[in-house]
Amino acid sequence: MAKMNMIAALNSALDLQLQRDPNVVIFGEDVGYFGGVFRVTAGLQEAHGAHRVFDSPLAEGGIAAVAFGMGINGLRPVMEIQFADYIFPAYDQIVNEMAKLRHRSGGEFWTPVTIRTPAGGGIRGGHHHSQSPEAQFTHTPGLKVVYCSNPYNAKGLLTSAIECNDPVVFFEPKRCYRGPFYGDPHKVPTWNSHPDGEVPEEYYSIPLEQARVVKEGGACTVIAWGTMVHVAEEGIRQSGIDAELIDLQTLLPWDRDTVVESVRKTGRCVIVHEAPKTSGFGAEMSASIQERCFWHLEAPIERVTGWDTPFPHTTEWDYLPSPGRIAEAIVRTQEA
């Protein structure tokens, strides 16, 4: 075991996959010599060669298309989109091409691309360095969508994503790269003192499609992913209510069994995400949960989300779900 922040853990996953599989290549904007704007690929070009870890021209659509082609022809590309906000020029290549290739070709072709992309707010990034566009990919059959939340699951999930023979969109909560975020921008803890900052140096993987029960509880089920896992943890603490916290980890396909089991136990549910409420992934979960848990529910399912507006710059703390808003929602579920 070693102390790692999320950047080091992701770097370790990439390093080990480059060692284990000669067909893994990594490319994207600034990922080569410089090691990425968030340093996730630091040192990898030096260790594995410029033909395996390299800088690409600044064209997200081109990066995705080239990764698609490499994947057809025996490679296992791990491409980086520097910020999730910049993924949209690649949207056609991801949604119409990668996601549909296996199906449209009768299984004759497929492309095992991993798309790494930092997402989410809390870094004063304004509306084009802060968005969390997971729902724009969970609506696409053929993709897998993963959202890590801490160093330990970042490494394990990224390892599985790279080994997956389906295209995977892998969201990294950039606010949590160097430490967990509990909703107070003035407190900047590191991963040093967090149990999930203990990361094995050797290879391991965490299966996709499995949620993680962060904290058990009996009074309410709180579901979150990415940065919101930690904000929700603080929200539960502030509510004073014995709530269960689930980190979804994989959004497509999601671990419905774990969620349903928890909600049937607690009878109450709060879903938290950074992305706007309307058509957010919380809507899908809420609908699915009521289908399965209707007779167990004691209160309406609550959603605490970003607002249905562009993501702001200086007022982002009023945009992101706060521990206070989450606590209030948990309390409301108890009063119903």
Binding site: A65, A67, G69, L75, Q93
Partner: protein, 412 residues
């Protein structure tokens, strides 16, 4: 190089095609450019060494179908006859499929009429292990690689023997055995994907090239520019073709760009760039062979503008009478690619009208037999179609729980 016509009324410029319905199509007596005008540079030349080739027109067959010049590939009799047969097969196949569509037996169809030489000559110039990443107007490449016509027709019908299980519209072929990569409807996506395929070949140290095609209209897409720039940057063994057939449905090439030739774009990316007569089998073969030799020598990409004319409608859903003169193709100076190669072979004493008629009849019978056999696996009106369970398979490597649940909900 033809003049780009525009209407120049304020406030901005709108391109116009040379002729509209009701006007007489007159492209002049023939191409100004003649075989022998342009030299055949060494394959290790610089992009600038092809500057004249990007604005000129590489031809081998002259107006009398005689081969001339440095670009003459000097193909043997067997190769030439094979090329002619593939082109004839494609045209007869297309005509049969179009009849099927018109009688309700196919949902849709796209012919390669007038452009038969392109994929056929170019694929013949490649090695068997090379990857083909086509648009929808290069199905002829499959004949070169020996695909069974029954299998192709089954795909177009979408019946039980369709290898893509009724999931794609007709003409969207996939054929991994022939290294013919799955065709996608959104135009141009294959162009940068082909660069990735070629980069993987280079990475793995394989003697492979990847050839890809898109149209003059599609060259406006971002994907076009991604491809050429990535190819220029990483220099993988890729052959990038813009098939300039003048028409993107109703949008003439004069409305698609303010540039002069499409080939000139390649020069800006420091890629050797050629403009070739797309109805000249020999010129196409020679230029593609040059590109393959360059790729095989590790010298990177080649950019080719294939100058041709879309003789037919865009698709079975299109009627060009609404936007261009009905007889425009008859006046096209590039002529008919099949007639030109046929004329060349007859001129060399390798072919005659009787043989041509006999071959036409043989292919026609083969196509009819293939069509009948394909229909035994299901027709569009009555099926049988692939089982409905194929809706749910091959979405992922393994069927996930939510997809499985929906399959059970359908109950098939």
């Amino acid at each position: 190089m033809p003049e780009r016509l525009t209407a120049t009324e304020a406030p901005y410029t709108i391109g116009i095609p040379p002729f509209r319905p009701g006007e007489e199509a007159d492209f002049g007596e023939g191409f100004v450019e003649q075989p022998g005008d342009l030299n055949r540079p060494e394959v290790n030349c610089s992009a600038q060494d092809t500057a004249t080739h990007a604005v000129g027109l590489i031809r081998v067959l002259d107006d009398e179908h005689v081969a001339h010049g440095e670009w003459n590939p000097n193909l043997d009799e067997e190769t030439l006859l094979k090329g002619l047969e593939h082109m004839m097969r494609l045209r007869i196949f297309d005509d049969r499929m179009m009849k099927m569509q018109r009688t309700g037996l196919l949902s849709f169809y796209m012919r390669s009429f007038g452009e038969e030489a392109i994929a056929i000559a170019q694929t013949m110039a490649l090695e068997e292990q090379d990857w083909l990443f086509p648009s929808y107007r290069q199905p002829g490449a499959q004949f070169v690689r020996g695909r069974d016509m029954v299998s192709m027709i089954c795909h177009c019908i979408g019946n039980t023997e369709d290898n893509v299980r009724g999931r794609q519209m007709p003409v969207h072929y996939t054929w991994k055995e022939g290294r013919f990569i799955s065709i996608s409807s959104p135009v141009g996506t294959q162009f940068p994907q082909a660069v990735g395929v070629a980069m993987a070949s280079a990475y793995r140290g394989l003697d492979e090239a990847c050839i890809t095609w898109l149209g003059d209209g599609t060259s406006a897409q971002g994907d076009f520019h991604y491809a050429v720039n990535f190819a220029s940057t990483f220099k993988p063994p890729v052959i990038l073709n813009v098939v300039n057939n003048q028409w993107a449905i109703s949008t003439h090439a004069n409305l698609a760009t303010g540039g002069r030739t499409f080939a000139e774009r390649g020069l800006a990316y420091d890629i050797p760039s050629f403009r070739v007569d797309g109805n000249d089998f020999l010129a196409l073969y020679a230029v593609t062979k040059w590109a393959r030799d360059r790729a095989g020598a590790g010298l990177g990409p080649t950019f080719i503008e294939v100058y041709t004319y879309r003789a037919g409608a865009h698709s079975s859903s299109d009627d060009p009478i609404a936007y261009r003169p009905q007889d425009e193709f008859k006046h096209w100076p590039g002529g008919d690619p099949i007639e030109r190669l046929k004329g060349h072979l007859i001129g060399r004493g390798l072919w005659d009208e009787d043989k041509h008629t006999a071959l036409t009849e043989r292919i026609d019978a083969e196509v009819m037999a293939a069509y009948k056999e394909a229909c035994t696996f299901g027709d569009l009106a009555n099926g049988p179609y692939p089982p409905a369970s194929t809706i749910f398979t091959e979405v992922y490597e393994e069927v996930p729980w939510h997809v499985q649940e929906q399959r059970e909900e359908l109950g098939k």
